[in-house]
Amino acid sequence: MKIGKDPDGLAELLVKISAYSMILVVFFIFFFLFFEGIKIFNFESVQHFFLGQSWQPTSSNPRFEIASIIIGSLFVTAGALLLSVPVALGCAIYLSEVAPPSLSELLKPVIEILAGIPSVVIGFFGLTVVVPAVASIFGIPSGLTLLSGILVLAIMVLPTIETISEDALRSVPRSYREASAALGATDWETIHKVVLPAAMPGITVAILLGFGRAIGETMVVLMVTGNAAIIPTSVFDPIRTMTATIAAEMGEAPFGSPHYFALFMIAATLFVISFMVNSAANLLIKRGSRYA
């Protein structure tokens, strides 16, 4: 069968190539990051790289140890989630369970607009408003701190967590609510005892994806956290994240230098974290749908 004579066969071939290339793309992304990144271990041992705290890529005796950077990422992410999750859940519950539909419709664009603001604009807002405010409220010389990072990043991840949680809450069948209400439970008791537990897998997915979003966010943390590669002892210390390290330094790292390789290894680490978060979320979604 000649391909030119068989547009149907050609079309099927094309769509299949496109779809399967998605698998290849993900594989290639990992492969290239890892392939470049692994070369750092010619200069720094695996153990030192991940567990050491000294990041001095440009000194005459360079050190490539990223523990403080990983911890920076984890702290700012954890802090942002700590602020964002309760607020996002509060919004999600209010909009799906309490508010009249007309109010929910009216407020829906608020979340959508917030989700649509480019991260560099949020970062800019953080830099010009939040950072000076943190400095003056707490009387510290510079507001470029972990705290500023947490505050601004919390705004950034809120829409992700809110939207997915709201979807999860809305997909709880009406009959559950009616059964509980028929027993004389108040609305809040119904939400608390029936709706929330039923939506829990979806809410967990929301928090997981929020975590992935927060740890992968670049511009916001680059602009407001001060970028010092130290393990912070308080929220008023500056920190440096994995993403910000790559963004700030890749421009100066010579192609093929140990510094270049180290930054790729950080990106490979980010890839692995994001991959695990996503896989966990997918697993939860699959399991959730099995019980539905």
Binding site: A19, V26, C91
Partner: protein, 284 residues
């Protein structure tokens, strides 16, 4: 009885407070940027390149760069994205291949944007030898926009009633004729929505273009796809963090932020409106 009701009132009020907080934050962000940026935005600001260490002049060059990058990203991503959506909705059968493709797409959607930037650097800039260029930047942004284009297009195909496929096939049309003559035209509004969302994503991102295309300052427009270019988000980042005199560029910063914000939000609103309009129009 009263106790349970009081509890509920307290809890619900605190939820309402959460909503109020989010609304307040959004309005604060928008108000801050609009009120301080609006004075800057003028015809001159939009049609002049930056001058005098970016302290004066406008944002023409970065704006054109962002437009070119968005167009390039969509040229790269749209065909693959739509074909993949067609596979997912028309060809795929339950099984290992489908679940692999699906999980690849969801992983792509979750990858940090800086990781795309680094991949673009390693592959498009270095391995393929494009150098930092519009081409490398567009391909990187295109890759990053793929998931949103696929997802929106797939939803568009899935919402077309099965009966149109049946009617066409029963007339003796082939599967591809059915897709080309019916499904693609009927899915067009949805694909358009995906395209606009993809453009908005590509226009607003900074991290993927840091090392693949963005230039700190260029006096002239790019003249080929192998040239570097300025871009709005990167311009804002540079202005607000690296300029020689931050105070002197403050107005330009706010003006740039406002333009970028307006472009991205206008695109998102357009996508929402198109979707709503066609949902109402096509009640099959």
């Amino acid at each position: 009885m009263l106790d349970r009701r009081t509890t509920q009132a307290v809890v619900f009020s605190s939820f309402l407070l959460c909503v109020a907080l989010v609304v307040a934050i959004l309005f604060f962000v928008l108000f801050d940027i609009i009120s301080k940026g609006i004075a800057m935005v003028s015809w001159e600001f939009l049609t002049q390149p930056p001058r005098n260490n970016m302290r004066e002049g406008g944002i023409l060059t970065p704006m054109v760069g962002t437009i070119l990058l968005s167009i390039g990203a969509m040229i790269a991503a749209l065909p693959v994205g739509v074909l993949t959506a067609i596979y997912l909705s028309e060809y795929a059968r339950e099984g290992r291949a489908l679940s692999l493709v699906n999980s690849a797409i969801s992983n792509l959607a979750g990858l940090p944007s800086i990781v795309f930037g680094l991949f673009g650097l390693a592959v498009f800039v270095n391995l393929f030898g494009f150098g930092p260029s519009l081409l490398a930047g567009s391909l990187t942004l295109g890759l990053m926009s793929l998931p949103v284009i696929i997802k929106t297009s797939q939803e568009a195909f899935a919402s077309i009633p099965f009966s149109f496929r049946e009617a066409s096939l029963a007339l003796g049309a082939t599967k591809w004729q059915t897709i080309r003559h019916h499904l693609l035209p009927y899915a067009m509004p949805g694909i358009l929505t995906g395209l606009i969302l993809g453009v908005s994503r590509a226009a607003g991102e900074t991290a993927p273009i840091l090392f693949t295309v963005a230039a700190y300052f260029l006096a002239t427009m790019p003249s080929s796809v192998f040239d570097q270019s300025m871009a709005l988000p990167y311009h804002l980042y540079i202005l607000s963090t690296q300029s020689f005199n931050l105070r002197a560029t403050q107005n330009v910063q706010y003006g740039t932020a406002l333009v970028l914000l307006s472009v991205v939000l206008a695109l998102n609103s357009a996508a929402i409106i198109i979707r709503a309009y066609f949902r109402r129009k096509y009640r099959w």
